[in-house]
């Protein structure tokens, strides 16, 4: 067993767990600046998490085992997803398992459990949120798969490590299909992470909320785990975007020097990405839920177009 690969894998997991709340805090800071408010501190998400971990858990009377188990399952799904996306190195222990389709499956597993937990207690808000989540999910998932298929067609593999290696370490080539796929991916990740055109992440107790409606019954450490999982999901999607569309700087080797260099590049890229996300959220208004099919349908069609453009322009005549 390659020691460096194991080390890089563990380091990636730790980096994901540590950086995810900071990324969330950074996005909130940028949003506050852009909206002319005074910003919360960068570590605000950590303060919230530690506060929640110290609180007691209050459970509804008719909450089942599933309700109590769901936060742990969701958290481990998201941690695994964030760990298998190659960000620091492509030479990882989990690299053979880090398949794009498996990753979509992991996200789907977490989604199913959070939706079930939302319906478990039986409040109307919970089941409303669950239904909307599944509605968004079933529209977003095919688009996400199509984006992955475009990248897979270019590198002839669905393994994330191979995709990153092909895109980052071959001779520099402009792939027009990736421009389409990038737009589609941005739209999908906005929808999947409950960001503004589809859902407002800062809202509580409104009829339009989706993600917050499902977790309304959670408290204490359960809520902390779910919040942490949500920031891990955002982190995983950001890393996926970086890995697919801006993979320059991700090394093939896993020695300490290149890992440190890759870490610095990653933080820089995440900072820029977070700012862009805050900019998108500030500039756009939340759309009605019935406009969501149009939004995600467009994402799907763009992803299909990316595949078509790849077949026409990039396979050679």
């Amino acid at each position: 067993m390659n020691f460096y690969a194991l080390f890089a894998q563990l380091l990636e997991l730790v980096v994901a767990l540590v950086l995810a709340p900071i990324l969330n805090g950074w996005i909130n800071m940028c949003r506050a600046w852009l909206q002319n408010r005074s910003a919360p501190p960068l570590l605000q998400t950590y303060y919230t998490l530690s506060k929640l971990f110290h609180k007691d858990v209050l459970l509804a009377h008719n909450a089942s085992t599933l309700f109590r188990a769901a936060p742990y399952i969701i958290f481990s799904c998201m941690a695994l997803a964030a760990a298998i996306v190659p960000t620091l190195s492509t030479d990882l222990i989990f690299a053979p398992a880090a398949d794009a389709i498996a990753l979509v499956g992991l996200f789907a597993l977490a989604r199913v459990f959070i939706a079930l937990a939302g319906m478990d207690v039986g409040t109307s808000f919970g089941s409303l949120g669950s239904r909307r989540e599944m509605f968004i999910g079933f529209l977003a998932e095919p688009a996400l798969l199509m984006v992955f298929f475009t990248a897979s067609l270019i590198s002839r593999s669905t393994s994330l490590s191979t995709i990153v290696e092909t895109l980052a370490h071959r001779e520099f080539v402009i792939y027009p299909s990736l421009a389409f796929a990038g737009v589609a991916f941005t739209m999908v990740s906005l929808a999947e992470n409950a960001r503004i055109p589809i859902d407002n992440p800062t809202t509580h107790l409104e009829l339009t909320m989706i993600h917050e409606a499902m977790i309304l019954e959670y408290s204490g450490r359960h809520l902390a785990l779910i919040e942490w999982a949500a920031s891990l999901k955002l982190f995983a999607y950001s890393c996926l975007g970086i890995a697919l569309f801006f993979p320059f700087g991700i090394p093939e080797a896993a020695d300490p020097l290149s890992l440190a260099l890759a870490g610095a590049t990653l933080i820089l890229k995440l900072a820029v990405g977070g700012f862009v996300l805050a900019l998108i959220e500030t500039l756009s208004a939340k759309m009605r839920i019935f406009r969501a099919p149009e939004f995600l349908g467009t994402a799907f069609l763009l992803a299909v177009l990316a595949m078509l453009v790849h077949l026409l322009l990039e396979t050679g005549q």
Binding site: E171, I174, P176, A179, L308, L311
Partner: protein
């Protein structure tokens, strides 16, 4: 094998391919856009992309007459026509007009089908052509068909005219990519035609509005001759 083939393609051709992909993207964006003002801005962007790609073709193949047509594109499609359109919608006070009754997912699906058809039709043509831009003929054809679709689906007059102009963009792009552009006389003639067409249509807009109090073309169908 794929990557090896690509590495043989020069950088200029790659940039042209990127421009072609952006043209197609803008074509879809225009198809799905409800607001008239954004539509004009998208049209201007498409002109800009067309100018860039023509310029790169001209510089990389040393075709001097293409420089002229690139300049013509910049002057006409990026500056003059958007300016006229902006003034027109301000004078007609339809600046914030929104087209309702537009089933965007269905239209986009039809658009995808059109793109597939265009790519398949263009495949044999591009094999005959020897230019460095031959792969983009399919995309140029798809742009033309998308503009056609837009003309069919829109009911307001201004978006229809923009669709007409976008179709001209697609035709021009097809000409550049298939044969390094048409003879200068033909190009000048088309440019003049588009210009004059725009002026005449501008007059038409005012006539239509005077007659029906609206720029909705559907009113013309229900009109009875006395």
């Amino acid at each position: 094998m794929n990557a090896m083939l690509l590495n043989a393609v020069p950088l200029a051709s790659q940039v042209i391919n990127l421009c072609a992909a952006i043209m197609l993207l803008l074509g879809f964006a225009m198809l799905a856009q409800r607001r008239v003002l954004t539509l004009i801005n998208l049209f201007m962007l498409q002109g800009l992309v067309l100018f860039t790609s023509t310029l790169i073709v001209a510089l990389s193949t040393h075709q001097n007459h293409l420089l002229w047509s690139a300049a013509l594109t910049l002057l006409l499609k990026v500056i003059a026509l958007p300016y006229i359109l902006h003034r027109l919608i301000r004078r007609l006070s339809v600046k914030w007009d929104i087209e309702t009754l537009l089933n965007i997912p269905t239209i986009m699906l039809i658009g995808i089908a059109l793109v597939v058809v265009a790519f398949n039709v263009a495949q044999p043509i591009s094999q005959l052509s020897g230019t460095i831009t031959r792969a983009t003929i399919g995309i140029a054809l798809a742009c033309v068909l998308l503009a056609f679709l837009m003309m069919i689906t829109r009911s307001k007059a201004v978006p229809q005219v923009i669709a007409f102009l976008a179709m001209e963009n697609g035709l021009f792009f097809a000409a550049t990519s298939a044969t390094y552009g048409m003879p200068m006389v033909v190009e000048l003639g088309i440019a003049l035609d588009v210009m004059v067409g725009m002026v005449i249509l501008g007059v038409f807009f005012f006539q239509i509005r005077q007659q029906f109090d609206s720029l909705d073309i559907r009113h013309m169908e229900t009109r009875r001759e006395p």
